[in-house]
């Protein structure tokens, strides 16, 4: 770490439901308010209460797009967090922990699963340490980590005594605020920003805000007066104008509002439902020079229904969408083909998680690429488009709706759990950079109308259910120009050709920069897609600082695959590295199918945890130093 720059990673952990997330929200908000860029990431079990969840917040004075392996400061109010994460804290870092926990043995923590416990015991045995918190902390200390023990219980008791409010004693749900405030006190972050953030977060509950502020102030002062020897200071920098603090699903949610999506049907599924719930929470929309609009958000009985309802709504000319994850998308595929057959513009936002089957339901994965590209029986055109980060996903949502309308096809917009559970600072979304192009959607009909009329470009003027004189028919059977069933072989050829010709049109019409983004092409060049973008570009800059240039092309349009364009972009690249979060290197397969070149190295991760830039940096170094195997498998993260 160079002296001039700030690169600080804070980790808070605790049982699910104990306020880890709200603690992290306060910390993130404070850091963002003080001008820093943040990249936060939540990891959690498929569980409501009790299992271990944790949040890392990386703080920097420059733009960051990923996590790193090392934790600078860990704060924990439970023993499990220490057992699971003590080893991630860097030698110059610190651990703030509840000193009441020192004697806790691993066997007392029921949520420590046995594979993890066995690994930990083996490790502690090899180091000759007892299976206790004191044991693991000793190891951390030996490594150089500074320990900051504080009895959370005593702290609350003395506060209760000082302010003469006995209700504060034993108020365990304050432990998260204590943790955050101790952390901020230690790094000397100005305390008024902490108080301000608490006021903002609890703006509707002034009494709760008051107690929280008391606890926060007290803990903050405790740390800043008692804790010593920590080399990291985050005292604030100049705020970047037009910066917003956003959660993972805000890009597609606000993107849908701006793009004019007015109907969203969905069935609850992690990690996609947050988007639908957010849309419903903001269902009434302000419209320039007009009466308010609204999004009808309909929770359905299953994903099949979500898909059917969305298509029904889209047939009325309404921009319509659904949001789901792998298992839900699997159920949608029959109707996806219907939408393709009937040339219905719909957008399916696919927040991937780890499969197969239920897989790791609350963890990350990019293993639905091939399934999505090939989803549905029979040949029909669709677009598969992937966003690389939250900011991008806002603008991409607009693009997806335009593609759907212009080419009259279903569009699958691929997102993932890495994105959905990130919290980041980024440039404020700019709705003026979004355009709305409804393609050949008609407002009135002149003359005889045929919904599937043969036209020069394969796209027919589109009526909508309820439009005067625009009567048409749809069917999942092959049909004639009116939409009536036809099994005529000549009609079949013409209709298949009409629909499928769109794939060429799409490849030609979508501007190249929206198909593939090049972050430079060098001897070693990475190809990737989706949320690996962040850690890749951060690893790229880490290497650049050492004078090593590695190229990267981010493929956004995955179907129809821009084979020729990608091939031409890569002509000066000598070694190709495919980086993605799945087992089989799915993009690599697609690449091979469309570009006549071999991938030289695969960097893959399928633990369900997102990639860090450190991991990518390390594997790229190995590749460059010729020490890598063909498949480099990453595994960082608890």
């Amino acid at each position: 770490m160079s002296v001039s720059s700030v690169d600080f990673t804070w980790l808070i952990g605790g049982p699910q439901g104990s306020g880890v997330e709200s603690g992290a929200n306060i910390f993130s908000k404070v850091c963002a308010e003080m001008g820093y860029q943040i990249f936060g990431k939540r990891e959690f079990y498929s569980n409501i209460k009790g299992q271990h969840s944790y949040f890392t917040v990386r703080v920097s004075d420059t733009n960051i797009h990923s996590n790193v392996n090392d934790v600078t400061l860990m704060v924990s109010f439970d023993a499990e967090t220490i057992f699971r994460h003590f080893d991630e804290v860097s030698s110059t870092g610190g651990i703030i922990y509840d000193s009441e926990l020192e004697d806790v043995e691993t066997d007392r923590i029921h949520t420590l699963d046995s594979p993890f416990k066995e690994r930990l015991h083996k490790f502690l045995e090899s180091k000759n340490k007892p299976f206790t918190i004191a044991g693991v902390l000793e190891l951390a200390k030996e490594k150089g980590v500074t320990l900051y023990p504080v009895s959370f219980k005593t702290l609350l008791e003395s506060l209760a005594h000082d302010v003469d409010n006995q209700r504060l004693r034993g108020l365990i749900r304050m432990y998260n605020v204590i943790g955050v405030s101790l952390s901020l006190g230690l790094i000397k972050m100005p305390s008024d920003s902490l108080i301000h953030s608490i006021d903002m977060i609890f703006s509707k509950k002034p009494q709760i805000a008051e107690i929280n502020k008391q606890v926060a102030n007290y803990s903050y002062n405790y740390a800043s007066s008692k804790f010593e020897n920590f080399e990291y200071r985050l005292i604030g920098i100049t705020k970047q104008p037009n910066t917003i603090l956003v959660q993972g699903h805000y890009g597609t949610s606000i993107g849908k509002m701006v793009s004019g999506c007015r109907f969203q049907s969905y069935y609850p599924i992690t990690p996609a439902s947050d988007e639908s719930v957010y849309l419903e929470s903001h269902e009434i929309l302000q419209v320039q020079n007009s009466r308010p609009g609204s999004t009808a958000v309909i929770q359905t009985e299953d994903e099949i229904s979500a898909m059917g309802m969305m298509i029904g709504a889209a047939l009325t000319g309404t921009r319509s969408s659904t949001s789901t994850s792998g298992p839900g998308f699997a159920l949608m595929t029959e109707a996806l083909g219907w939408a393709g057959m009937n040339e219905v513009p719909v957008v399916i936002t696919l927040y991937q998680r780890s499969g197969p089957s239920t897989g790791l339901p609350t963890r990350h994965g990019q293993d639905d690429l091939l399934f999505t590209v090939f989803a549905g029986h029979g040949d029909f055109p669709k677009i598969v488009y992937a966003s690389g980060d939250i900011e991008e996903s806002f603008y991409d949502t607009g693009r997806c709706f335009n593609y759907a309308d212009k080419y009259q096809i279903p569009v699958v917009h691929m997102m993932d759990k890495f994105l959905s559970s990130s919290v980041i600072t980024c440039k404020k979304f700019d709705p003026n950079k979004v355009s709305i192009d409804r393609g050949k959607l008609l407002d009135k009909i002149e003359g005889e109308y045929k919904r599937f009329a043969f036209t020069g470009d394969g796209i027919s003027p589109r009526s909508r259910l309820g439009l005067d004189d625009g009567v048409f028919w749809n069917t999942g059977d092959e049909s004639d120009e009116y939409g009536h069933i036809s099994e005529d072989p000549q009609i079949r050829i013409k209709m298949m050709d009409k629909r499928m010709s769109r794939l060429d049109l799409i490849s030609k019409k979508i501007i190249p920069d929206d198909q593939v983004v090049s972050f430079g092409v060098h001897d070693y060049t990475i190809i990737s897609w989706g949320s690996t973008k962040g850690p890749i570009i951060d690893a790229q800059s880490m290497l650049k600082k050492e004078g090593i240039n590695v190229g990267f092309i981010q493929i956004k349009l995955l179907h129809p695959f821009p084979g020729e364009y990608v091939q031409s972009l890569l002509k000066n690249a000598k070694t190709l590295i495919d980086i993605e979060a799945n087992h089989s290197g799915q993009l690599g397969k697609l690449f091979k199918q469309n570009v006549s070149r071999e991938i030289d190295y695969f960097v893959l991760k399928y633990t369900g945890r997102g990639m860090t830039s450190t991991e990518i940096y390390d594997s790229l170094k190995k590749i460059i130093e010729n020490k890598a195997t063909k498949r480099e498998i990453l595994s960082h993260g608890a």
Binding site: V258, G260, L285, V287, A296, K428, V434, R438, T475, I485
Partner: protein, 320 residues
């Protein structure tokens, strides 16, 4: 210009088997649309898969022939996005009560203002006569290798239990009565369900036209003895008149009991009607006051290719 019955017919060749009960239903539906004077471009017929799925192609309104079992999902989406449109969904009993049974129940809970007609013949005709959900346990229609091993679904009972607010049964060979029922169903405020008994002359050799007409019973008693009778002829009051639990429960129970009647006496007509339950539209309007005046399909979303939705307040709240 007033529309005539002929205006609701397309020139698509109807390829149903001669004597198919479906003809009566499509005729009754066209007659009902003509009687109500619903403009062709203000109605959409959604249909499922199978013989009955072709219905939408024979009616000259908007027609959406969907996929197996999912017709209600498409139809509800269309209606919710464009609530001004008259929506009728049709499908077979296999479609609606077999593969689509989950949607049937969920639709009842929603009570979207539209109509669902099931063409109920006890067999999967287009796949050559397998047993469908309404075929009775132990019955063996002619193409079954062995008697049916499943208990039958009670469509009326299921509709009543699921929250449909208009539940009726028609018979496809009593076209006028069926037309009247369709008119009532479409005019009903809420989700209306019509179970239409419809003999499949090719594959169901048990519930035939003659069987419904009671020809077998007539042989015994030497007098005409149709199995079908009309509830309205029997002083049956299906309507929930006031929103009290006792009234609702009484009307629900009586409908359920009536739905169990089968064999020598088969009731048709309205089993249950309750317009005191809020429709889904009303529930949406409670949250989105101008939903009906400015529904999804009518909303202005852009001007000169630029979005008109104003999210500045939301974005400002996220600004640091």
């Amino acid at each position: 210009m007033a529309l005539k019955l002929a205006d609701y017919k397309t020139d698509v060749h109807n390829d149903w088997c001669p004597g198919c009960g479906d003809f009566g239903i499509v005729n009754a539906l066209q007659m009902a649309l003509a009687e109500m004077g619903i403009e062709r471009d203000k109605a959409t017929i959604f249909s499922g898969i199978g013989c009955s799925g072709k219905t939408s192609h024979f009616i000259n309104t908007y027609g959406v022939h969907t996929i197996h079992g999912r017709v209600l999902t498409f139809a509800q989406g269309g209606k919710l996005a464009n609530p001004d449109m008259t929506v009728v969904a049709v499908g077979g009993d296999g479609d609606g009560l077999g593969i689509g049974a989950g949607h049937f129940v969920a639709a009842g809970r929603r009570n979207v203002d539209m109509t669902y007609i099931i063409f109920d013949n006890g067999v999967y005709g287009l796949t050559k006569g397998q047993a469908s959900p309404t075929l009775k346990l132990g019955e063996k229609t002619k193409s079954l290798p062995s008697p049916n091993t499943n208990y039958n679904v009670n469509p009326i009972g299921l509709a009543v239990a699921s929250g449909f607010t208009f539940v009726a049964r028609g018979y496809s060979y009593d076209v006028r009565h069926l037309k009247d029922l369709i008119v009532k169903a479409v005019k009903h405020k809420g989700l209306s369900f019509l179970d239409v008994l419809q003999p499949c002359p090719t594959y169901n050799d048990i519930n035939t036209r003659d069987w419904y007409a009671g020809v077998d019973l007539a042989k015994e008693s030497m007098e005409r003895h149709s199995r079908i009778y009309k509830l309205e002829d029997s002083h049956f009051d299906p309507i929930v008149h006031y929103a009290e639990e006792s009234e609702v429960n009484e009307k629900l129970s009586q409908a359920l009991i009536k739905s169990l009647e089968w064999g020598n006496k088969i009731p048709t007509g309205v089993f249950y009607q309750n317009e005191l339950v809020s429709t889904f539209t009303t529930r949406l309007t409670d949250k989105i006051p101008n939903y009906l005046e400015n529904p999804p399909a009518s909303q202005k979303i852009s001007e000169n290719g630029l979005p008109t939705t104003d999210v500045s307040e939301l974005l400002n709240s996220l600004e640091i």
